[in-house]
Symmetry: C2
Subunit: 335 residues, 2 copies
């Protein structure tokens, strides 16, 4: 970490021009037919003196920053922080850095953040879009920005995305519960038109319809105070005498568990979406529809880097399977 060495220092040390050094450093030695001997000498010297090109200068010149933007709903939700950690690792391995933020499903904040990241000239975006972003995302695409969505997508904009089969996940959960013999199976979701929420609701409906059961659907306001959300969920379960509930997200399920604790209820049978440490250790352990985090991260980075490097021209729209992890909370014997 001594005084910064410049490419011109390297050139001077070796008595050659900066051009040659630059070519060699950018893997153009072969192409420019620079002798192997010289190439090796330069590379050795660069390593010896620890020369590191100034990324800023490089970026200014090339227009590439080697920075990716990760814009998630909420980095403090373990589902997203776990994915973030995986993405980060893969990005670093490819020489990319990640700048990130939480958009909190807030349209205005989301737009501002996307604009900020765009102004930073990041090389690519990984986004969990909140609603109302159709135009913003379209504009990014028109400006030839590499981007990929995940967790949800925009129904009216053709983009790359990686999602999971939310419909089947919710269907499986519902089918599993009713198949066990539960009679009154409810569904707790959000006021949200996001695709993952819509698909989960539809999956639940299909499960309900398969058995010709009545649907019980409760939506809560994501930004309502916790106390209120918890109370509403409790009322929903009690008023309808539900014996089983499918929760559309992990934090809704957590709200449900809070309701049980606060109002001292008997826990209904339940399935949550997205795994969580809590669900594994809760007594009874909570059955979940688990999304394949590692595969999601993998597909995202692979697709985005491919796009940045101009490889995959065609749309990449990946739907990964969810897995129903049956634990104790959904078994009728345990009730």
């Amino acid at each position: 970490m001594k005084k910064r060495i410049l490419i011109s220092d390297i050139a001077k040390d070796l008595g050659i021009s900066v051009t040659t050094v630059s070519f060699i450093l950018n893997d153009k030695a072969k192409e420019k037919r620079i002798s192997d001997g010289l190439t090796k000498r330069v590379l050795d010297h660069v390593k010896k003196v620890g020369y590191k090109p100034n990324q800023l200068a490089k970026s200014l010149r090339t227009g590439k920053t080697k920075i990716l933007g990760l814009l998630v709903e909420d980095i403090s939700n373990p589902f997203f922080s776990n994915i973030a950690k995986l993405i980060e690792g893969k990005a670093y391995a490819s020489g990319y850095h990640i700048i990130y933020c939480s958009m909190d499903n807030d349209e205005t904040k989301s737009k501002e953040l996307i604009q900020m990241f765009y102004d930073r000239q990041i090389d690519g975006f990984i986004i969990t879009p909140s609603e109302g972003l159709d135009e913003t995302i379209t504009q990014l695409q028109q400006n030839n920005v590499s981007l990929i969505l995940f967790d949800r997508y925009l129904a009216n904009v053709e983009t790359n995305y990686v999602i999971t089969d939310n419909f089947k996940g919710a269907y499986d959960a519902t089918d599993h519960l009713i198949g066990q013999g539960f009679k009154r199976v409810g569904f707790v979701s959000l006021y949200s038109d996001q695709t993952q929420m819509r698909d989960r609701l539809e999956g639940y409906m299909k499960g309900i319809d398969k058995y010709k059961k009545q649907a019980f659907i409760k939506k809560v306001q994501q930004d309502a105070p916790e106390e209120e959300r918890v109370r509403e969920i409790d009322e929903f379960i009690e008023d309808n005498r539900l014996d089983a509930v499918v929760f559309a997200t992990n934090y809704l399920a957590i709200d449900g568990l809070k309701a049980v604790k606060i109002y001292q209820r008997k826990l209904p049978a339940m399935v949550a979406f997205d795994d969580h440490t809590l669900f594994k250790l809760y007594e009874p352990s909570i059955t979940v529809v688990s999304q394949p985090i590692a595969e999601i991260a993998d597909e995202l980075i692979t697709a985005l880097l491919g796009q940045i490097q101009g490889k995959n021209k065609k749309l990449k729209q990946v739907v990964l399977p969810c897995e129903l992890k049956v634990r104790e909370s959904s078994l009728i014997s345990a009730n």
Copy 2:
């Protein structure tokens, strides 16, 4: 998001020089005694055409990137992801972006990551240092890099840091347990010489000594397979017939709960360090020593930005209080 506008376009549009525009844009209008009228005209025009300075060019020129590096132990640990979210918010509010990574308490990885971030010329570092980083951190300081540590510090390097009173937190936890009447109170920690671990152990010892009790101390290897850690913790509790345990981190406590589940044990009385959704909802709810996340984030950003802007010259070493949140798991009546 149209074709990029340059500062020279603004100058041309208004028939003035780029210098004047640059001065005005960098709040030097007053200092350079540029007329209010012109200043306003420029600002209005800039806003109207949506001109945004190219950060790269600006950074190359000034050497400032307006990027902060957040290097935590593990972004998927809710303690860190919650702090990360708060820091992120505050940083954006001041025009800074955050790039982050998880160092996983791995010395080699930590050094590489710090070097990568340094090469990126970020304006400041926020770091939870793993062991063996004394020299690396010292070098950063010698290179006049702004930095602040948190969660732990380096005993042999004088740096800014924000930590909590781990000693008192562990002491309070131990005192609370023994004060309730528990007889055999153990402590589960890591093989680690990090300051927060050392302080927590000492706090436990002081609590034990106060009552002239025997200490039971178990350290586990952080990178051991989960199964092994869980088994060791179980053996520790069983072999020593402990009726209460203080866990030095949230994930150790989670391992403890896993042990209870897997080996079907009666839960001993317990206190965990750092709060977690699980601890609030577990049955019984788990008593924790909680660190003031919002204050930590606040102090970190304030101190770091102050340092970057050349304000606080002297060392900023903040010790925040922990809070013992007594819940059910540590009450003797509940046992």
